[in-house]
Symmetry: C2
Subunit: 272 residues, 2 copies
């Protein structure tokens, strides 16, 4: 059972993992460098633990002790009990979800490893918005995608906002970074995947005509909101696919487009 | 051509349409009562005009005059040129999109009228988040839904945030409010629509098995994030449908779920 430690000095070095949480640029650098990520709120903290991540510490206000009792009982890391005002002073915001946990990162697997058992893979290029990354992981998990590959410049799936928006799906869908881009896509092709690039361009074939659900192994490539996939990424694909659009609308939000494409790729079945 | 009027008093009554834009509760009451809505940014202002909404006035900083020159030339309403600091003082935020327009609302059509020419209709119940409303309209437009019906407690599609997130799709997709709920759904059924209720429940049939794309007229019912459709709404449906889920994930974000369902309902075709 974890030790409950009341802390009343915002400068206490034991709270270092939780300082300046609202400074995105700072945290973006610090968290991977220090090997941690922040899980926020009861559900997400539980899911991180259930997914095998080790807890470094937990920070909560007194009224959350009962809610988190079982997590505290199983934890071996210290649990810091603080006043809500002190939590706000340390983190920079009002922690209305009441509990934060600092979790230990694990080394990312190699791309080849996450591909081995997968049949439906998402490949993201330059998706550097934490909300979009989280939303895409959530849909990927729900709609049966087996793994995610990220280009080197994609945002961190374990950043607090990504984790929250994903509802913890970043813990359950295996992911890896592709070291060289787009050269590393060769690994995907060599593993037997058809590379389908999602793009609104007229050259692209409508997704439902391509019938990706009939393919054994599909890697669906997505670009960032606005810019879409780069020319180099499009050139590296086996086929360009698009979601048929109406009403002269030029594009869907990347989260909506991803969800539609996952449905078409992963759960699509020939209809009667 | 519109008159360019420089205003340097934040209390000038001519700026009344733009006061307190960050006070959601205030604006939510005021805008329908005063018969206006706010279009923000070049694209959205243009789309509102192209969709036939009359302009009451425009508010912009000097550097946006050139960008909006053609809109100003066509407008008959007054154009107020203000300092960015004054715009912030009046509206309550930094107007980084540079231009705002106050547009005249038009009376909403009756539900029966928007149904007449439609084959694919979205019916929303209690969706009271402006971002979700906007996202659903955007996907509805892109994926070929013909019209939207709203339960009495749905949020306003013409609220500034809804308009922005929809990328102007709230102007192009006809919509109406259903006066009585869920009793008003009878109108939809009488117009020849099959009412499909989207719900994650186990009783529901997988969307791709229902083959809604084969139906002549489909009304797809969506509930709010979290709560989903009410028991009464589910009871009023002809059929419960669900998106097949994987990985033990219990639900998609309502925007993602809507996009997938629109794709299945509207653009789905029998595959080879």
């Amino acid at each position: 059972m974890a030790e409950l430690i009341t802390v009343d000095d915002p400068a206490d070095p034991r709270l270092h993992d939780y300082t300046g949480l609202t400074d995105v640029e700072l945290r973006r650098r610090r968290e991977p460098a220090e090997g941690l990520f922040i899980a926020e709120g009861e559900k997400v903290i539980r899911r991180a633990g259930e997914s095998g991540y080790a807890m470094r510490s937990m920070l909560l206000s007194a009224k959350w002790i009962d809610v988190m009792r079982d997590v505290i009982d199983r934890a071996t890391a210290p649990v810091y009990v603080v006043d809500p005002a002190l939590a706000e002073q340390v983190t920079g915001y009002h922690v209305h979800r009441g509990a934060l946990a600092s979790m230990q990162r694990t080394p990312l697997p190699a791309a080849a490893d996450v591909l081995r058992a997968a049949h439906r893979v998402v490949v993201m290029e330059s998706v550097n918005d934490h909300t979009n990354i989280g939303a895409i992981f959530r849909s990927a998990a729900a709609l049966g995608m087996d793994a995610v590959l990220l280009s080197p410049d994609c945002a961190d799936p374990l950043y607090r906002r990504s984790v929250k928006v994903s509802m913890g799906a970043v813990f359950s869908v295996p992911y890896a970074r592709v070291d060289t881009w787009p050269g590393g896509l060769e690994t995907v092709r060599e593993a037997g995947f058809e590379l389908l690039a999602l793009t609104p361009g007229e050259r692209a074939r409508p997704l439902d005509e391509v019938a990706p659900h009939r393919m054994d192994r599909v890697a669906l490539m997505l670009g960032a909101e606005g810019a879409g996939l780069s020319g180099r990424a499009l050139a590296a694909a086996d086929e360009l696919v698009r979601i048929p659009m109406s009403h002269g609308v030029d594009s869907l939000n990347v989260g909506a487009a991803a969800a539609v494409a996952f449905y078409a790729v992963a759960t699509g079945r020939p209809r009667e």
